[in-house]
Symmetry: C2
Subunit: 308 residues, 2 copies
């Protein structure tokens, strides 16, 4: 069976939106990636760290979904990473209220033996040297390595980021970060510059404005599905990445044509994530719902022009 | 031959962008709509008004493109509508430096006899009562009436706008204006409310983020083509509308499926408009270039998922 290795955070979130407010609930990039990938019936191993305060029930929920959590280290006398944020009325911008790194501050990911031969590796948004240390634990070169990063590492660890960029295949990044990393305003030019840094595929996430895939001068675009209500955007980007990575692990085809499909699956799953608070929608999501929504994506984007 | 009637401005623009600055050059919504529609080999009649200062060479350029300008009134002792603006570095926002309405202040559009039976009518962004007066001059109900409007009329003539909305088929509007008109933040909900005001098709223009078509709970999305350089965005929205209307006039098929194609053609032509200052790119555009770019749109959006 195909294997996906996902390194990221498993954490607590507390979220305020115009629709309501949560206590500490399950969150984290590794969690959302794992839940999205679990739709594909592959073996997903999550590597992360939590504190002694992390409920076992969360880990067993993930296990029930087929997610392997052997790589989630539990630091008994530590506290789990905690993020709290408040979304503005437009749901597109948010203020961070609290960031407590806790056990994440000393995170040294250890890849379980069973996942050292994973074909697809998803390196969540962590220090570039932490991302690099994961690659160095692999038994063989994975079929495809996907890296997520953010402006924080461009500001604080740009040299290390460039080192790891040379070792990966796909970078996922938002539009502003692509501009910062490349120094180019146009996303077409930004992608070209980022190609030169290493990644042969550049995925630019534009939130409600969809996602762009660039590869050697070729482009593909997947819109976000317009929704009547966006309830909570937390985790949508990670769910997108998890759908993308999970689909590639399932199909084991890393051609440009198949990466297009992976982008569509990422958008598909992300459109569910935002419908409820936290991981709730992803926990209850069924294969039929995903299939049905794939039809909605086709209707949204496919056309048939026959003009003589 | 199919006929398109386009009512709008024929005007002077002076434009500043990070790439340079123009003197008074040819502009106006009617001009851009006409030039876009001229790609379809249909009869396009532009109805507008200019002053005695308007160069005949501009009108003859339009005539050479097959655009009928019999409906462009020339007020000999008046001055042509003039707009001047400066784009910011991101090319997505601009400051208006000058707006001189001049002869446009007393514009009473007169539809030439030959266009009173046009199958497609494009009502450019003008006072709603001026738009209404055009519809009342038609000999028969057109196959499709498209209306463009803006927040200015929502603020100053909302009642009149609602009157004309009951008489039209398609509204083209930007995302912020759709939110203002409907009082709904979600574009899905905004489109639903706007449907109830009259238009059975709602086209929401999102500039560089593409365009959405809504019809009875169905949706279609066309991205803007990502470009290495956007030189001057002036007229892109009108070019989009002209491509949309021109394609519909050419095909005389106003089904939802064919409106999808029209949206793609609108995006196609708009992607050229921004490549040079003012109307320059649209004046020199060839059918082969349009055909070639249609392929780029297909590559950008079409996918083929076969997952068992």
């Amino acid at each position: 069976m195909s294997k996906l290795l996902a390194v990221g955070t498993v954490a607590f979130d507390a979220i305020e939106t115009p629709f309501g407010k949560t206590d500490k609930i399950l969150g984290g990039s590794g969690t959302f990636v794992g839940l999205a990938a679990s739709q594909f019936g592959i073996e997903t191993g999550v590597v992360s760290v939590v504190g002694g305060d992390f409920p076992e029930s969360y880990l067993s929920m993930m296990n029930d979904k087929g997610i392997n959590t052997d790589g989630v280290e539990v630091v008994k006398d530590g506290k789990t990473f905690f993020w709290s944020g408040r979304y503005h009325n437009d749901m597109n911008s948010r203020d961070t209220l609290v960031t407590e790194l806790n056990v994440l501050a000393d995170f040294n990911p250890v890849v379980p033996e069973a996942f050292k031969n994973a074909s697809i590796v998803m390196l969540g948004n962590l220090h570039p040297l932490v991302q690099l240390s994961v690659l160095e634990q692999m038994n063989e070169k994975p079929k495809l390595v996907i890296l997520d990063t953010m402006n924080f590492w461009m500001d604080s660890a740009l040299g290390d980021l460039h080192t790891v960029l040379k070792r990966i295949d796909v970078i996922t990044i938002n539009d502003e970060e692509a501009r910062q990393l490349s120094g180019e305003y146009s996303l077409v030019n930004a992608a070209k510059k980022i190609h030169e840094m290493g990644p042969k595929y550049v995925v630019i996430k534009k939130g409600e404005h969809g996602a762009l895939l660039f590869h050697n001068g070729k482009m593909f675009f997947a819109p976000a599905l317009p929704l009547a209500e966006v309830f909570d955007p937390t985790g949508a980007g990670d769910t997108f990445a998890g759908g993308f990575a999970g689909y590639l692990a399932k199909t084991e085809d890393v051609s440009f044509e198949n990466l297009k499909n992976a982008i569509i699956y990422g958008s598909n799953l992300a459109s569910f994530c935002v419908e409820k608070f936290g991981t709730q929608r992803m926990e209850e999501l069924t294969a039929d719902e995903v299939k049905h929504r794939l039809e909605a994506f086709k209707e949204l984007t496919q056309f048939d022009i026959r003009l003589s």
